[in-house]
Every structure is written in structure tokens, then in C-alpha cells.
Amino acid sequence: MLKLQFMKKISLILAAIILLLSVGQANAFIDGISGTSFQFAAREGRLSTPDGGNLLFWGFADTTPGGRASVQYPGPTLIINQGDTVTITLANELKEPVSMMFPGMTTLSSMVPALKQGRLSSLVPECEPGGTQTYSFRADKAGTFYYQSGSNQAIQLRMGLFGAIVVRPVLHKKLAIHNTVPFGLYSSTNGVRHPQVRLDYNNPTGIGGVAYNPSNSSDMSTVYDREFLYMVSEMDPKFQRWMEFEQDKINKPFDFSAWKANYWFINGRNAPDTMGMPLTSKNGVVSGSLQLPSQPYNCMPLFHPGERVLIRIINMGQDFHPLHTHGNHMRVVAEDGNLLQSSGGTGADLSWEAFTVTMAPGKTFDATFTWSGKGLGWDIYEDTATFRPYEYIADHIKTFTPFTSPAASGLTPKLPPQGLPVIMPGIQETMAGPNGSGSPFLGSKEALTPGEGGFNPFNGFFFMWHSHAERELTNNDIFPGGLLTMAGIVPWPATGDNLTVLDEYMP
């Protein structure tokens, strides 16, 4: 029954995706605001959870002229350039003082803590209710960072007063040589390396880039084709309700020793909402997931075989969360906005690979991820006629003779696809999920269990990227949900594919 509810929810999201295709949505990128001067407001709002609930939160709103203007969880992602001086004027619409601080940045505004009646009120000067306060900092380093309130953090960070900062390096899109050097190539086309179709990190209008300044023109350690934000947080609904309905610190104080998270978020949403469309506001046109007005950011990495993806990981919660990527290892190249290098000019020579990264509270990680199917031992493409980009050449057109004849079993397995080493079970013998295509092959589809599937319009390979503390895959007692999203390997377009549709999902 729970599964059914989940499927219904997903169906709604799919419906939204289909409806919005005509709007021209860009999925698969980091949404945020750019510039050097912003106006923010701190106010309260409500967020929706996939189990049908809603929770009070405090968040930041981008009230800059032309901005989204509504409060959101998490706060607006700042995408700025290394060396920029950024000024934020904060207006406080809450009933207690708030502030903003920027760990890892060079703060230019006052760093004098705020005291009230002799006691610490805020780590930085704060903004009284109804008042405004201006903060400014210089982004001296490239990398992945965050901002957060410096006031009454045990309350205010649990309530959601934080947001991500992405600082683009000086050399972002400036090293022309990167455009000509292939990387992540595991295969070739007929012995010739496949021309790069999407590796446009150097294209001024492209989505690719580099996360940290390369030490030289051959340093590829943080070059990427696509980037995704993975900002995790959690909430205890008991606490959020206490804040909403009681907040009586004298007669009915909240027992913080009993605080226990039961909602887990990626970019402010619980699964399966993580996989819905983002809510975007461009040129005054609001589009996307209108059902989630205060949770604009989704998290659904979509990319092609051979592409290198940068995952910007931030843990804004109070608990540890182990992030497990199905499909392949990540390579962790930076921590807390610092490239993992032994000395300047070596590239990320101290980087490490992991299938699970423990995200400690307040830490950020940058990790790269590439998938090509290298070494699977069978050809992932059913269409054996042509080579596909980044196809692993050793497995091309490999065929198998099954060890066992299906007739002997008396059951009803599918006929053996010659390209697969084993015989698949019949569809009535399996229970398939929403992201399957029914086919073991990339870019192919076959019949699915009745009523299943439909969330894989490109017949891609999907991999769950999720917290391996599996209790966190629930939404307040309801499985599945929480800290999970599905990353999709979308096959490179073949001749005759509708590229317009593809481009709307994947810029």
C-alpha cells in the first residue's frame, strides 16, 4: 500500500514533467542567483512533505528586484565568481534577531559578535526584527561553501536559515586547451577516439566548467561536464511543531535530548519530490513544480555515458549522513572548498575514491563521477551495428550461450537475449520499479510488469544515490522517501532521436 501511495505521488510528478515539457524546462544543473549585490529577507514559510504533511520553516528570500521574492528552503544558492565582493542587505521579518555568516569567505563587514544583556546572541552583528543589516564578503577561494545564520544556531539552523554558495574559479572556462584533451575516455569508435560532443566546459555558453583553478593546462582533476548540488538537511517534526504551536520556553520547553530526525532533505525536498521538476522563475515567468512554492530546487542528476559529473555535497544538518552512489565510485577532490592537493600545482593528488562518503555536519565535499559501463563483461547496447560514444570497445557485440536451457525449468523465462550472459526472468516473475525500461540494455525498452515503469523516457540506466543509513529513506515513518534521488545515465542521442525533447531535460 505504501508503495502504491509512492507510485501515485510519482505519477503526479510525471504528469507535471509531461505538462511542463512544453514550457522548456532546464533540469540537470545547479539553479541559483548570480551577481554581487543582493537583498535578502528572513521570514517564515511552510514546506510540503511527500507524505502529505507540511512543516514550518524559517528561510531566506531573494528580494532583490527581479528575484523570486518568496521564502525558500534552503535559501537561494549564490553562484559567484572568485574575487568578487558580494554585498547582501538582509531584512528581518522574523520575531527574533537573525544574521548571516559565510564560513570560508573573507568577511568584509563587521565580525564583532552581538551580545544581549551580557550574553552571546550572535556570532556576527545581527539584524533586529523589522530592521535591516548589511553583510559583505570577498570570495577569495573557489569551491563549494554555504551561508547560514550566526544567531541562535541551535534553533535557527534547525529551522532552515542556510543556503549554498558556489564560487567559480578565476580560470573557469579560461583554459582553452581543455577543449581539445579528451578525458574519461574508456573506449573509442573503430579505434578512433570519438569526437567530443558535450564536453564543453570551455564553451562560454556551455554548462561544463572547472571547480577549482587547474594547476596547469593538463590538470583535469576538477574539470566537469555537468554539476549538481547535493545539499542535505533533516528535521524532527516534533520540533517544527513545537516552534509553530508552542514555542513556550518557560512552561513547555522542547526536550532537545529527544530531538530525532524523521524527515531528510536533498536541496530542501524529500524523495520522491527530489526528482520532480525545479521551480524556476526567469524573466518574470514562473514555471516548474508549482506544488512546491517554497522548495524550488530539485536533485535529479542526468548525464550521458562518459561524461564527468561534479557533485557539490553540503551537509547542513546536525547528523552524519553516508552518501552512497550506485553505479560507480565517486572521486572526492575537495573538502570544505579546499582542493585535496599536497602542495600548490599538483592537482587533486590527495583525492580518494569512495562508494560511500560520510557527510559530516557542516562539511562540504566536491566529488566527480563518471559512468561508462567499462568492464561489465557484456555489451550494454542491444543495437550491435554501430559504436556508441564512450562504449567499452572490448565488450562490443559480445554474445553468450546460456549455461542452462530455459526449457528444462518448466517456468517461463524470457528468451535469452544473445547479448546478455543470463536468461532474464519473465515479467510476471519480477516486480519492476518506476525507473526501469524492461530491457537490460541501455537505450532499449521491453515490456514491464503491468502498471510499472514510465519514469525512464530515454530508456536510460538509473542509479539510486542515497543515504546508506537506510532509516533515512523514510518520510516520517513512511517508506520510501527521504534522502534519496535517482541519477540517470541517458544514452547519447542516436540518429533519428528527437533532440528537442532531450535538450529540454538536459541542457
Binding site: 550506485h326 542509479f463 539510486m464
Partner: protein, 433 residues
């Protein structure tokens, strides 16, 4: 209702309700090395070629797992209902169900083969004998194995699980050595809490190279990873190495060599969750709190004891050893020990501490701790902090250690008890002779 009464009650229901097909469809039956039975009649119809010309090491290997339910016995005597895997490779297809149902093991049978072998893993869902209301599929997720494809990944949103009474064969080309783990990924929070967890590790081809060449590296013939720089690959047909004339060398060459290896998996159970599962009650995900902390499915002192014999004889299951894997390590002074650690708790981080001299952390997440340019990133430590879904490889060099019993245990003090029973939990012994 007491647990025992519940057991009887459900068993009565189960006997009426569950009628499963009797045969299992094995695509590569029996894991007797090298033998293939094409038509499941129990007679070999062919052989698998030797892997790189090593007799007794077939190029393709297989295992047959049953997924179902069972019963476990905690170190404090508490009996807990579990879901789990057990090995059915020895049973012919015709009696497979009868021999494997209600015999779940915690942890699941260890999967361990060599880099380069092809592995056929057949999974039969033998159903939930004591939960006739459940129709859950099962799967095997080869956790952490690089370059996966959804069809063999066992994650049911992107692929599928196998329904009760049916079989599914996974295929893995074991291309990367290291310490992984495996578990059922269907309704993962529930099935993993219920015990569908297992050890999985792939031994490196450097072991086979030293076996072929008869030339040990720094005196070792077994290694955690391929740690030499010039180790040749297999030839394309995997009939041999490309060359066996190379003298292995490199800055880390031999650093992961060992004499004794042991897999140790940390996990925990919430007894109330298991009792509610048996009672077909609403599952308490929100209120989960672990009560029993374990290494390889047992709390101390069972971790160093004999195979745990279950009480299930009363319901017709004799010789049911539900927790067959101990965590005891014994080595001679001067030997090197490789510990393959994993954490498969679904909610707890753990710091495992050693009360002897420092060990070396040489691997993490099935990768040798080595930078992309070859830098040695291994380090010495006395404890290792491990999150759910992580694995670590430790080398304990016992040279000069005083003979005696050393302890390897969770430093999280709440993990050192078996529910109310003190002096227990996630702890084991390493004996140096």
C-alpha cells in the same frame, strides 16, 4: 502474545497459506568448481575451463542463494525473527525449496572470489514462512561494485526484485578487487533491518600471479589489493597472464600482503522492530532505536563462540545454524592479518578500536589508499570510524606483539551491550599465539 506463541500461530497460518513451486531454475547450478549442469538433472554435462590455467580455479563460478525468513538468537538469549539469505548450492533444484525455506542466516553467506572470474549468482525467493501476509520480492545489491548496470544492481526502482517462488540469475564480471558488501535492496529500510546483509570481497589478481610464478612478494602470496606497479594483466582469453616474466616492484609493492584474513561486518538490530515485524504490526521506522549491536550477526561473547544453533527445532527445523560466521581471528606472532571491515547498520556509525599496537589502514571503499599519481595515502591508526555502507581494510602486523588475546571492539559505549546484557555487543578477540 509472547514471541513463541506468535511463532506457533504464524507457522500454523503459514502451513495453510504458502504453496510454492517446488523447483528452482538454476542457470549455473552447483558451485562445485568447474562443473556445469545444462539441464538441472544433477548430472554434469560440461566443464568450465580453468581460469588462467590454474587447476581448481574455474573461469566462471556460481552460487545459489535462497532469500526468505528465519530466526536468530542474540547473545542475551533473545530470539529475533529475521529475513535473510542462505546458501542452497548443495541442494538439487527439485528439493531446493524444502531445504532452504525458513533458514535465513545473518549475515548472509560470504561471497569471495578472484578478480577476473565471472560470477553467476542465482537468487530464489523462497517466501516468508512466518509472514504469509507478505509478498515481498527480494534482490541482491552488489554494494560498491564499480561500473554497475541496473539489471544486475538489485535496486528495484531502476530494475526489479524477484517474486516469491521464482529465480533470477545475476552476472558479475569481477573486474575490481576489494572489500564490498551485499544486501537485499527491496524495501531496503525494512529488509536490511531484518538482516538481509552479507560480506563480499574480491581477491586481487596479484595473488594468482604469485601462484603462477611461484615468486612471493616480500614473502607474501596473498594481498588485499594489486599493490605492485608493474603487475601484468590477464591475456584476452584469460588463459594466462600476458607475461609471467615480470619481477613485481613498486613503492607500495607487497604493502598489502597478509597471512590471515577475516571479514568483519558491523550491524545492529532493533528488537522491537523485529517483534513488530513478526506480529505483522505497523513497522516503527520513526521510532527505531538499536538494541543489539553485532559483528557478523552476533554480539560478544558469541562473536568468538561456536556457530549459533537456533531454537527452531521446535518448529521442525533441525540443525538450523542461523549465525554461522564468527569474528574470531587467530594468528601466529609475526604474521600479518587483513581485516575486511564493513558497516551495514541502517542507522549507526561506529568507531572500532583495537587495544593493541597501531594497525595500518590500507583500503577504503574497495580501493587501495593510493592517490591518482601513486602517492601512498595509507595511514596508521588505532581505531577506524565507519559509516553505514562503508568498508575499510586494515593490516595488523603482529611482529613483536606479545602473545595473548587482543580485543577489537566498538568504542561507541552504547554498542557494547546485548540489549540489557553488559559486557557484550560489537566486540571480538584477536588471539596471537
Amino acid at each position: 502474545m509472547t514471541t513463541n506463541k506468535l511463532l506457533t500461530y504464524w507457522l500454523a497460518l503459514a502451513l495453510i497459506a504458502v504453496a510454492l513451486p517446488a523447483a528452482a531454475f538454476l542457470q549455473f547450478p552447483y558451485d562445485i568448481p568447474g562443473i556445469v549442469d545444462w539441464n538441472n538433472d544433477g548430472t554434469a554435462t560440461g566443464t568450465v575451463p580453468d581460469f588462467i590455467g590454474l587447476p581448481g580455479t574455474p573461469a566462471a563460478v556460481s552460487m545459489h542463494l535462497a532469500a526468505g525468513d528465519g530466526y536468530s538468537k542474540m547473545a542475551d538469549g533473545t530470539g529475533l525473527y529475521i529475513f535473510g539469505f542462505n546458501k542452497g548450492s548443495a541442494f538439487p533444484a527439485s528439493t531446493f525449496m524444502k531445504n532452504t525455506e525458513f533458514r535465513a542466516e545473518m549475515p548472509a553467506p560470504t561471497i569471495s572470489y578472484y578478480e577476473g572470474q565471472e560470477f553467476y549468482l542465482t537468487l530464489t525467493n523462497v517466501g516468508m514462512k512466518l509472514r504469509p501476509d507478505l509478498f515481498d520480492p527480494h534482490s541482491v545489491h552488489f554494494h560498491g561494485f564499480p561500473q554497475a548496470a541496473p539489471v544486475f544492481d538489485g535496486e528495484p526502482m531502476a530494475s526489479f526484485g524477484i517474486r516469491m517462488g521464482f529465480d533470477l540469475t545475476y552476472y558479475y564480471n569481477l573486474v575490481e578487487p576489494g572489500t564490498y558488501l551485499y544486501h537485499c535492496h527491496v524495501e531496503a529500510t525494512e529488509h536490511m533491518e531484518m538482516g538481509m546483509l552479507g560480506n563480499l570481497f574480491i581477491m586481487p589478481r596479484q595473488d594468482l600471479y604469485t601462484r603462477k610464478t611461484l615468486v612471493p612478494v616480500s614473502g607474501f602470496t596473498q594481498f588485499a589489493y594489486n599493490d605492485c606497479d608493474n603487475l601484468p594483466p590477464y591475456n584476452p582469453g584469460k588463459t594466462d597472464f600476458e607475461t609471467t616474466l615480470v619481477t613485481l616492484s613498486g613503492s607500495m609493492c607487497g604493502s598489502t600482503g597478509y597471512h590471515v584474513q577475516k571479514e568483519i561486518q558491523f550491524s545492529d538490530f532493533d528488537a522491537i522492530f523485529h517483534q513488530k515485524s513478526l506480529a505483522a504490526d505497523v513497522l516503527p521506522f520513526a521510532d527505531m532505536e538499536s538494541s543489539h549491536y553485532m559483528l557478523n550477526g552476533r554480539g560478544y561473547p558469541d562473536t568468538v563462540g561456536a556457530s549459533v544453533l537456533n531454537d527452531a527445532a521446535s518448529i521442525g527445523k533441525v540443525n538450523y545454524y542461523s549465525q554461522p560466521i564468527d569474528s574470531k581471528v587467530t594468528a601466529n606472532q609475526g604474521q600479518r592479518i587483513l581485516l575486511r571491515l564493513s558497516n551495514l547498520s541502517i542507522q549507526n556509525f561506529t568507531t572500532l578500536e583495537f587495544n593493541g599496537p597501531a594497525f595500518k589502514v590500507i583500503g577504503k571503499c574497495a580501493k587501495l589508499l593510493r592517490g591518482p599519481d601513486g602517492k601512498d595515502l595509507s595511514y596508521s591508526a588505532n581505531s577506524v570510524f565507519m559509516g553505514p555502507g562503508e568498508t575499510y581494510d586494515l593490516i595488523l602486523d603482529t611482529s613483536g606483539w606479545a602473545p595473548g588475546t587482543y580485543y577489537f571492539y566498538s568504542r561507541n559505549l552504547n554498542q557494547l551491550n546485548n540489549d540489557q546484557m553488559e559486557r557484550g555487543g560489537a566486540m571480538t578477540e584477536i588471539t596471537i599465539i
